[in-house]
């Protein structure tokens, strides 16, 4: 039975107004500009783009500002916005080998073509808070090295030349699944899983990836290669008859290399887990690659024993917008449901007391 309840309109209006007030905070402090967010909180912007599954730095910055820095709320805003735009088409697959690299490292080979390029990394900082940043100190520009550099070859191409690493499955003739357009039906193809992982929650995937290292999917990976940089995006334009570059996006790519003991069909070799995400999001790309490899257990004939190997578990729970919706719906009025449960518990309690009362009498007799 449902009881229609009205009211709260004025309270909601006033809550909105209070939210806007609190969002702005102390009016004596200058308001944040979107440029400031996009430039100085760039990795937060990257995370919102990645999990919002929409590449647009300015929109992501706006979402962060509107959400008061609550990144999951900002991701939700971006997801909602994307539903208002028409889909013009699908890009040609980007060529990460031709990336304008800003960082490229490998934990497998010390000397590899193109070298170890550290780029703008936190890795060698001492994680000491820098109180100078409490002000606005002058900051030196990055140094430039002008001698000729060779292109950064993909690690997979190096190992692949020896035949010691699995090759990528050849390009499929069919179109890859798109979870933005069609509801997911398990089991999902690896291509579809990678889309879900790419927009999955960083914290959830990080924890699952971590669990694979701690023994929950018997994974012993090497970071074969991580690269960050910009790639050209090309879109086929039917009225022109050819694909046109429409601009660049920044991506982070991770190739994890795992030892594989082989199977009846395949000799021992290295297998790979792959992650490709928007922006500079190294931790996320690594976590995606770990989860991608774990989710290939069935395909590679490994025993499925741990949650990270279970695609329904991983993919159904990695989306923080979905998760937020279901967890936070518990805040909605459940007055009638609760009244029903209250009645039930009272009845059970009465039965319990009647029962224990009679047991006590029996014991006394």
């Amino acid at each position: 039975m449902y009881v229609a309840v009205k009211g709260g309109e004025a309270a909601i209006d006033n809550a909105h107004r209070l939210l806007a007030d609190r969002r702005r905070g102390d009016r004596d402090v200058p308001a944040l500009t979107l440029d400031q967010i996009a430039e100085q909180l760039a990795l937060g912007v990257d995370r919102v783009m990645s999990e919002g599954s929409l590449y647009d730095r300015r929109l992501a910055a706006l979402a962060i500002k509107q959400a008061r820095g609550d990144l999951i709320e900002a991701i939700f805003l971006l997801r909602a916005y994307r539903t208002t735009l028409p889909r013009f088409g699908y890009s040609e697959p980007v060529d990460t080998g031709a990336m304008l690299v800003e960082r490229r490292i490998s934990a497998c080979y010390k000397d590899l073509p193109g070298g170890q390029l550290l780029g703008p990394t936190f890795d060698y900082t001492h994680r000491l808070l820098d109180e100078v940043l409490d002000g606005d100190p002058a900051v030196d520009v990055g140094l430039q090295r002008t001698d000729a550099q060779e292109p950064a070859t993909h690690i997979a191409d190096i190992l692949g030349a020896e035949g010691l690493i699995e090759e990528d499955a050849p390009a499929a003739a069919s179109e890859p699944g798109d979870i933005n357009q069609t509801p997911m039906e398990f089991p999902l193809s690896r291509a579809t899983r990678l889309q879900a992982l790419s927009r999955g929650d960083e914290g959830f995937l990080l924890a699952l990836g971590y669990s694979t290292q701690r023994g929950y999917a018997r994974s012993h990976p090497f970071a074969g290669e991580i690269r960050i940089g910009e790639v050209d995006v090309e879109l086929f334009v039917p009225e022109l008859g050819f694909a046109v570059p429409v601009g660049r996006v920044q991506l982070t790519e991770c190739q994890m290399v795992n030892q594989f003991k082989g199977s009846a069909k395949v000799p021992p070799q290295f297998t790979r887990g792959y992650g490709l995400v928007f922006g500079q999001s190294e931790r996320k790309a690594m976590a995606v690659a770990l989860c991608d490899r774990a989710l290939r257990a069935e395909e590679l004939g490994e025993e499925v024993v741990a949650p990270p190997q279970d695609q329904e578990f991983v993919i159904s729970h990695c989306d923080n917008v979905q998760a937020t919706g279901f967890v936070e719906h518990l805040k909605l009025p459940h007055y009638v449901d609760f009244q029903a449960e209250l009645g039930l518990v009272r009845n059970m309690r009465a039965e319990h007391e009647a029962m224990s009362g009679s047991e006590a009498r029996e014991a006394a007799e």
Binding site: T96, E102, G142, L143, R145, A156, A172
Partner: protein, 156 residues
């Protein structure tokens, strides 16, 4: 400026020109366009309108295609008064830039106009973009690790 990157043969192929226009900074583009002093009449055929393009990658970097996520994109198609059609499409949501790029694309279907636009607008923008790329490449190169091995005593 990195003059070695200036294309030797003008006019540029249509695709290359559209690629430069798509990546152009809207401010620089407007300034250079104003200097050209061209005022062609045109009508819109479609847009400018903003929408989404689904970006695709490849599984493992060279395998089958998969959808990474969407990006905002804006496109425009215009027709000059003489009937020539121009198209433009670029990442982002700048409609005025898309309209202007489509107009420039249409004008460049005429060889003489194309030569002038290439020399006075496209090449300067391309140099600006290439310089920015080169700077980024050099800054990244400065963070390259140069390994050197210590000579150990017992090997002497």
């Amino acid at each position: 400026m990195s003059f070695e990157t200036i294309p030797q043969t003008l006019p540029m192929a249509r695709r290359d020109r559209m690629a430069v226009l798509a990546r152009s900074n809207a401010g620089s583009l407007q300034d250079l366009w104003a200097l050209l002093g061209l005022k062609p009449g045109c009508t819109p055929l479609r847009g400018p309108e903003s929408g989404l393009v689904m970006l695709r990658g490849r599984v493992g970097s060279s395998g089958e295609a998969f959808n990474v996520g969407e990006a905002t994109v804006t496109r425009a198609s215009v027709k000059l008064d003489n009937g020539t059609v121009g198209h433009a499409i670029a990442l982002g949501r700048d409609r005025e830039k898309a309209r202007l790029c489509a107009l420039i694309d249409a004008l460049c279907q005429d060889v003489d106009t194309a030569a002038r636009i290439d020399a006075e607008l496209i090449v300067p923008i391309k140099c600006e973009l290439d310089d920015a790329d080169e700077k980024r490449r050099r800054q990244t190169a400065a963070t390259r690790v140069d390994f050197f091995t210590m000579v150990r005593g017992e090997d002497r």
